[in-house]
């Protein structure tokens, strides 16, 4: 269709607005309330235009075009209305561009400038009412709210309620007294605001600004660099605002926002948690332990020392006495380098990383049943599902931006949600069905649901017959899981189980999302297999809105696995036990395959267990096992037995403090590199700042060691590493840095440069051919409560912190929001222990004891406690059980028995 704007004809499509057409064709129509991510609001009236046949002036952001529509944006009436709007806005409040953070980036300023308004011709009389006398709200840690700069465009309200779904902001009061309020008009810090900062990002003026950037740079002085968030596995793209080599603020990438995984949204960590890169605590010189103390030294000396020691151990005890801990925080290039160092230079398969502790059971379970250990579908598909089952994932805390997408799917798109979780998570509160199962009973309820689905005839038997195998044995194994048995094992009533089974099996396109509540068990692999069973039985794999989707916990944990930082595979999951694979890599590296390790290597957990015995030296890159590993008292003792501990990190972590050599490395913000998010999307991050003097990139350090260990052709640039890794990794083969940038990342497999990437796995057939239905036998957790340790204990992540806290606890805002550890305790348990909220308690298990603060909340079930594991001084992992899953060797972080005492 055609429409005419100011007597010029333009092409238009159904559903477009007048404003859309104007913007597409470079016609300036100012708009203060409309925003591409919050849509029309009809509030500011700045975009009004004359539309033939309509009475009065109409806002061009709201009027949908019709064929032959005649629009005028240049009549005296329109210009007068526009000018009136700007004058009115400027005449109300205190608009002072000199002190305003938005100066230069302010849409009101821009409009006034364009209209030639130097200052308003009048000032509205001061409002003497209660609502009129508002102070600047500086209560919160990251955001400043100044109502005197606010133009009430409502963008922040829509963004808070409908984008990130936090539902904090609203318009309060009426008429001239209208103000943006938090909850029922509380100061932001006292409200339910989680400081995601979305409101600041959409604010067209300076009413909302980042406290962290106040007075530190005007818009034109700040450079923007696009990076990938270093926290969870969602892989949000971030535009860092940088001035004088300092990170001032973070914005979700607005450029092509619809294609970005996070659609320009961020969580509190991505928004405010990145200042650690500028921390004065950054390591800036290598260190060697001399006379029991770590002392600074030169790079050459440190590298020579480390290489000599490694060579010595290799000579004396063989390459298998050395082990490498790679890092889910480092780039693909760096993980690949570490993998090559271990296999191609040292000659050992003893390489692993912290995926062992989070999703090794997923990789094992899904690879066995489906053929690939990764998320089958993509995160933006959440709203295309009809029903979503979430279990063992506190999504809005652990993967906050994705949690918001689920919430939107449920609250705005009508997607049904089943949450099965011992804790009443935020998503449980909006779920259609929430069931609290007993910790560690997942195989029971998952298989029980499948038994019901089979019996009720809800199974997709055509799908099962065509695409799956293992039916007979599987079906037989279901017989054990009668509703009564399931109730006995899990505490779930037959009625609730039936309702959940029915909703998931008959509700249409069903997706399963899970995380560490499923994986971190001594039966973690079985749990994962049970999830895969459920998805296959209901025919939910291979299309949009379905799938079995493990949510990965770290920015590049998927990539570290892809790069072969695992004891059993090279990059691209090519088995080390396969001779052909060894030959391929040996050829690529120019070494003799006979020098390669042919056996599957040791895992993170088994290497720790074998310290001082089979394992004599460990090279840790960007990991902190002294906080992240289970049963820390034992781990500490084990690491102490090593002949050589090399730690490479940006901070003096708890593990680095035990090291013989410490290498200072660079942060994500300082390097170019690729990161693979949870949905297999490989994204390129830019270098935003220059590294602190004295540091080296992780890949440089690895290359230096490789050279000292005799490897002459070890690649020592990102480009060289990426070129080599894509050559040897079929699923990355079609990727280039240019493509990754242009296409907002690519999801593997991407076998050639024409391939668009693969958002959905297993479309027509499973990667392994037929999907394998697994017969599963129920096994209880390794340790259950008893008289001495009567409570179920579980651990996990908080919204404000991350992993071992090495990053998030060095962020000013995050540290201020949650400065210390805590234990979640149900109000009834707190009452019987005589503990009030915030009081100190001692939590003890068979392995250790910590003192921490009670957080009395009914989020946890009666008789259960939950301890976030980020806090070294009250480390949850001094308590956790290091019992392992027999296949994946993942520890049982999620269940052990504990007792809580009040500290008097």
């Amino acid at each position: 269709m055609k429409i005419s704007i100011d007597a010029v004809d333009f092409e238009a499509r159904d559903g477009q607005t007048v404003l859309d057409i104007a913007r597409e064709n470079g016609i300036y129509i100012p708009s203060l309330c409309w925003h591409v991510r919050t849509g029309k609001a009809s509030r500011c009236r700045a975009c009004v235009a004359e539309i033939k046949g309509m009475r009065g002036l109409k806002e061009s952001c709201a009027v949908e075009v019709t064929d032959g529509m005649v629009v005028r944006t240049d009549t005296p009436e329109v210009l007068a209305a526009r000018k009136m709007v700007v004058e009115l806005l400027l005449s109300n409040g205190e608009h002072n561009c000199i002190s305003c953070e938005a100066d230069g980036d302010c849409e009101l300023q821009e409009m006034a400038y364009r209209l030639g308004i130097e200052k308003p011709s009048y000032i509205l009389a001061d409002d003497e009412s209660e609502e009129g006398r508002r102070e600047v709200d500086e209560s919160s840690e990251g955001i400043i709210r100044n109502d005197k700069l606010c133009i009430l465009c409502g963008r922040c309200v829509t963004a808070c309620n409908s984008n990130v779904m936090h539902q904090v902001l609203g318009v309060g009061y009426r008429g001239k007294d209208s103000v943006i309020i938090c909850d029922n008009d509380k100061p932001m810090a006292e409200s339910s605001c989680v400081q995601c900062g979305e409101c600041v990002q959409v604010c067209p003026v300076g009413a909302l600004s980042f406290k962290t950037a106040k007075g530190k740079g005007k818009s034109w002085q700040v450079e923007k660099k696009t990076v990938v968030c270093p926290y969870c596995g969602v892989g949000c793209t971030i535009d860092l605002g940088v001035r004088d080599n300092k990170v001032l603020y973070a914005l979700g990438t607005e450029d092509r926002y619809e294609k970005q995984v996070n659609r320009a949204m961020l969580c509190v960590k991505g928004r405010f948690g990145l200042d650690y890169v500028n921390s004065p605590e950054r390591l800036t010189a290598p260190m060697i332990r001399r006379n029991g103390k770590l002392v600074e030294t030169s790079w050459d000396e440190a590298l020579d020392f480390a290489a000599d020691k490694m060579r010595e151990i290799k000579t004396k005890h063989g390459p298998g006495a050395l082990g490498c801990f790679s890092s889910a925080k480092c780039s693909n290039e760096e993980n690949y380098a570490m993998m090559r160092l271990a296999r191609g230079v040292i000659g050992t398969n003893n390489i692993d990383h912290c995926a062992r502790l989070c999703h090794s059971s997923t990789v094992a379970g899904l690879a066995t049943t489906l053929g690939s250990g990764a998320m089958t579908n993509s995160m933006q598909e959440a709203e295309l599902s009809d029903v979503i089952l979430i279990t063992g994932s506190n999504t809005t805390w652990s993967h906050p931006v994705f949690g918001g997408m689920i919430k939107k799917a449920v609250l705005e798109k009508g997607v049904k949600l089943v949450v099965i979780d011992p804790r009443e998570t935020d998503l449980a509160k909006v779920a259609d069905i929430h069931i609290r199962q007993r910790n560690g009973s997942d195989v029971a309820w998952l298989m029980g649901m499948q038994r019901i689905i089979c019996r009720e005839g809800w199974a997709d038997m055509d799908y099962v017959r065509q695409r799956c195998e293992g039916w007979d044995e599987y079906e037989k194994s279901l017989e054990f899981y009668t509703p009564e048995t399931v109730e006995e094992l899990s505490g779930i009533s037959p009625e609730a189980l039936f309702a959940a089974a029915k909703l998931f099996a008959t509700g249409g396109r069903g997706a399963i999302y899970f995380s560490m509540g499923i994986t971190q068990h001594t039966h973690g692999v079985d749990n994962v297999k049970a999830c895969a069973n459920l998805s296959m039985l209901t025919g939910n794999l291979g299309f949009e809105g379905g799938g079995v989707n493990p949510l990965r916990g770290q920015s590049n944990v998927q990539g570290a696995c892809d790069m072969g930082a695992l004891p059993n595979v090279f990059s691209g999951y090519q088995a080390v036990t396969a001779e052909a694979a060894r030959e391929k890599f040996a050829a690529g590296w120019g070494i003799d395959p006979a020098n390669m390790d042919t056996e599957i290597g040791q895992t993170v957990t088994t290497m720790i267990q074998k310290c001082g015995d089979e394992i004599r030296g460990i090279y840790v890159m960007g990991e902190n096992p002294m906080v992240s590993d289970p049963n820390l008292n034992h781990a500490e003792k084990q690491l102490g037995k090593l002949d050589l501990l090399i730690v490479q990190d940006i901070f003096m972590t708890e593990t680095a403090e035990m090291a013989d050599v410490v290498f200072p490395s660079c942060s994500f913000a300082e390097k170019v590199g690729t990161y693979t998010n949870s949905e297999r999307r490989v994204q390129l991050g830019e270098a935003a700042i220059t590294p602190p003097a004295g540091t080296k990139h992780d890949y440089e350090i690895v290359a230096e060691l490789a050279r000292r260990l005799g490897c002459e052709n070890f690649p020592n640039t990102n480009d060289a590493l990426f070129a080599e890794l894509k050559e040897l990794t079929p699923s990355y083969h079609g990727m280039t840095y240019e493509r990754l940038q242009q296409e907002c990342g690519l999801r593997w497999p991407c076998p050639d440069e024409q391939h668009p990437g693969t958002p959905i796995l297993h479309v027509d057939k499973f990667v392994r051919g037929k999907g394998l239905l697994s017969a599963l036998e129920y096994r209880p957790p390794a340790e259950c409560p008893d008289d001495e340790y009567p409570m179920w204990m579980s651990t996990g992540r908080m919204l404000e912190h991350f992993h071992t806290g090495s990053m998030s606890r060095r962020s000013e805002v995050l540290d201020a929001l949650v400065p210390e550890g805590q234990v979640e305790l149900h109000p009834l348990d707190a009452e019987s222990l005589g503990v009030a909220n915030g009081e100190k308690v001692r939590v003890t298990t068979r392995r250790g004891s910590i003192e921490t603060q009670a957080n009395v909340t009914s989020r946890v079930a009666i008789g259960s406690i939950f301890i976030p594991f980020h806090f070294a001084e009250a480390a949850a992992n001094r308590l956790t059980n290091d019992a392992l899953d027999p296949i994946a060797k993942i520890p049982e972080f999620k269940v052990c028995a504990a007792k809580v005492e009040k500290i008097v």
Partner: protein, 630 residues
């Protein structure tokens, strides 16, 4: 009376129920034995409950409890004369009753058969305080009633609003029966179009065309809404209909539901109308019990039900899109149109929204035909309109007249002229966003077109009469202040533009007016009219713009001479005492609330201007014409 009606299974059965009800009314309770007492909100406020109890007591005392019934009706109209009562077949009209009067009426009139003339209606239109008031005992002789035409208020004051059978007896639900008994949606629409009815809520959009849009919106789910969020100050047309004849609205909505294909309706009533809500709620329940709402109405297969939704006191929720937002549970803020509610309204479904008065017209139109309705009114504006008369008028209250009746007829012939014999200055019509009509237009017919031409609007029917003591700048300020209070704040022109206008007009009334103020008021006012989001904002400048248009000299006097010709604007008024005329009686000093008057007994008094608040008390009480005002 609180009777109900058993389920009526067919249109035929409805006819039988009606016949029986008419017969019953004719035989058992002859009109001589019926006392109608107004239980409209106005009469209740002036004590009709007590009068009713006194009447009942008196009847009991005379053992007439079984023979004479006291029927509580809806509003009879002349609220200023309340509590009012009508007795007997010839409808003797009693006014301003007190409980003590009940005994007289029962003894002399009910038992004695003689009208108690001293308590009946009086004609005060003569206006001179000294001349005796002439009693006009019978309703049929009273000018106030004689000159009205009642279609909307056809049952108000005549039936017990709590009795569904009384409604049925007066042809209630007959139109619905007729529609369901063989008429098609197109048939109904054709009658609606023929009638020429325009929306009575203020917009004046042709009702038939609105219905047509809703019919044409293809969706299996549609909604019918009734706007009963009557918020104009002094307006109570819709309240009176809901309190006095709730079934007429239900019937109108059910017919609308049938016509557009909707099975669910909501009545959005303001919470400040508890009596209306109570009576409507009962009417809905009774209609359901009688099978006139709910599943399979009158056995015809048509299903339609109603629920009440209460407003929370925001004037803007009378705007249709804000009303819809409010029902949806959102903040009551208007939305952009198009899409219009008839296309995408409540919960994004096609929605027909009319106000109470509009729906109350519908049964009459369907029963008597669109042509019949169109025989009332003018060329372009058909039917009747209900007005709430208020201000400086003798008989303030509720009247219904054919559209096109002139201001003069309503104010003088029906309303009895200006209070206290003062001079008419202006009529403010159309609610707070209406306009002021000066004296030279008193003979203008009140219809949509003529009012628009004068810069006013029909609005929902508020008509405030102002006399010579009124300052038109102050009037404009008053309404503007109301609009500023009630602006939802969503759009900039309304939120801040009205505030800016109010700033200017406050300055003018406080003596800070400057040359150019009038032009700026006009400029911003026109900008708001063009650019505001909703009808509230677009019409908010009307009181200012229309008073500038018709009373510009008053603005100029305020601005240029710092003078308020009507002596209303306190900052522009100064009082003084003429020492020669002052006798030193001290009355003014005693009455002065701020002790601003000094002087000794029998000595001349004087006003201390610093303390004076220009309340006018001294002027009012001085018996020697010694106080003057400038």
């Amino acid at each position: 009376m609180t009777d109900t009606c058993k389920k009526i299974g067919s249109v035929k059965q409805l006819e039988a129920v009606r016949t029986a009800a008419v017969e019953a009314a004719g035989s058992s309770a002859a009109e001589t034995e019926k006392i109608l007492i107004c239980m409209g909100g106005g009469c209740i406020a002036s004590g009709s409950e007590c009068v009713k109890n006194a009447l009942l007591e008196s009847l009991d005392k005379h053992k007439l409890g079984d023979k004479v019934s006291v029927v509580e009706t809806g509003c009879l109209g002349p609220c200023v004369r309340g509590p009012v009562v009508m007795v007997g077949a010839d409808r003797a009209f009693y006014q301003n009753l007190k409980p003590d009067d009940a005994e007289k009426i029962v003894e002399q009139h009910v038992i004695g058969g003689k009208i108690v003339e001293e308590l009946t209606w009086t004609d005060d239109s003569d206006n001179s305080a000294s001349s005796p008031k002439i009693p006009v005992p019978l309703q049929d002789d009273i000018e106030f009633f004689k000159r009205q035409t009642k279609i909307v208020l056809r049952n108000c004051g005549l039936i017990d609003p709590g009795s569904i059978t009384e409604y049925i007896a007066r042809d209630g639900y007959r139109a619905l029966g007729k529609v369901l008994d063989g008429m098609t949606s197109d048939d109904v629409l054709s009658e609606m179009n023929k009638s020429g009815l325009k929306g009575r809520g203020g917009g004046g959009f042709p009702t038939g065309r609105k219905w047509e849009f809703a019919i044409k919106s293809p969706d299996p789910v549609k909604y019918i809404l009734c706007n009963a969020d009557e918020g104009d100050p002094g307006a109570f047309m819709d309240r009176s209909v809901l309190e006095g004849d709730p079934h007429s609205v239900i019937e109108g909505m059910a017919i609308g539901g049938f016509t557009i294909g909707s099975s669910q309706g909501y009545v959005y009533v303001r919470a400040e109308y508890p009596l209306a809500v109570e009576r409507l709620q009962k009417a809905i329940q009774d209609a359901r019990a009688a099978g006139l709402l709910g599943e399979n109405i009158l056995g015809t297969g048509f299903s339609f039900d109603l629920e009440i939704r209460m407003g929370s006191g925001a004037f803007v929720c009378g705007e249709e899109t804000a009303l819809i937002a409010s029902i949806e549970g959102e903040r009551g803020e208007p939305r952009s149109r198009p899409p219009f509610p008839a296309v995408k309204g409540l919960w994004e479904k096609p929605t027909l929204l009319n106000n109470v008065e509009t729906y109350a017209n519908v049964p009459a139109i369907l029963l008597n035909g669109g042509d019949w309705f169109a025989s009332f009114g003018t060329e372009n504006s058909k039917g009747t309109k209900v007005f709430a008369l208020a201000g400086a008028i003798n008989i303030s209250g509720l009247v219904e007249v054919p559209v096109g009746t002139t201001f003069r007829e309503i104010i003088y012939d029906i309303g009895g002229g200006i209070l206290g014999g003062k001079k008419f200055k202006a009529a403010q019509i159309g609610g707070p966003s209406g306009g002021c009509i000066p004296e030279q237009y008193l003979d203008t017919p009140i219809d949509y077109e003529s009012l628009n031409a004068l810069g006013a609007i029909m609005g929902s029917g508020g008509l405030v009469v102002m006399d010579e003591d009124t300052c038109m700048v102050d009037v404009a300020r008053f309404f503007l202040e109301f609009m500023q209070e009630e602006s939802c704040g969503k759009c900039v022109p309304c939120r801040l533009g009205i505030t800016r206008m109010l700033d200017i007009i406050n300055g003018i009334t406080q003596g800070h007016g400057q040359p150019g103020d009038i032009e700026e008021l006009q400029q911003i006012g026109e900008g708001i009219q063009a650019a505001a989001l909703c009808g509230l904002g677009q019409t908010a400048p009307n009181p200012v713009l229309s008073t500038i248009r018709h009373f510009r000299d008053e603005y100029e006097a305020h601005i240029n001479d710092k003078h308020c010709p009507a002596h209303v604007c306190k900052d522009l008024v100064s009082y003084s005492i003429d020492a020669e005329k002052c006798t030193g009686c001290t009355l003014c000093a005693k009455k002065c609330p701020t002790d601003a008057i000094t002087g000794v007994v029998k000595g001349p008094h004087a006003i201390v201007l610093d303390k004076c608040i220009a309340c006018g008390m001294c002027l009012e009480v001085c018996r020697f014409d010694a106080v003057s005002v400038k």
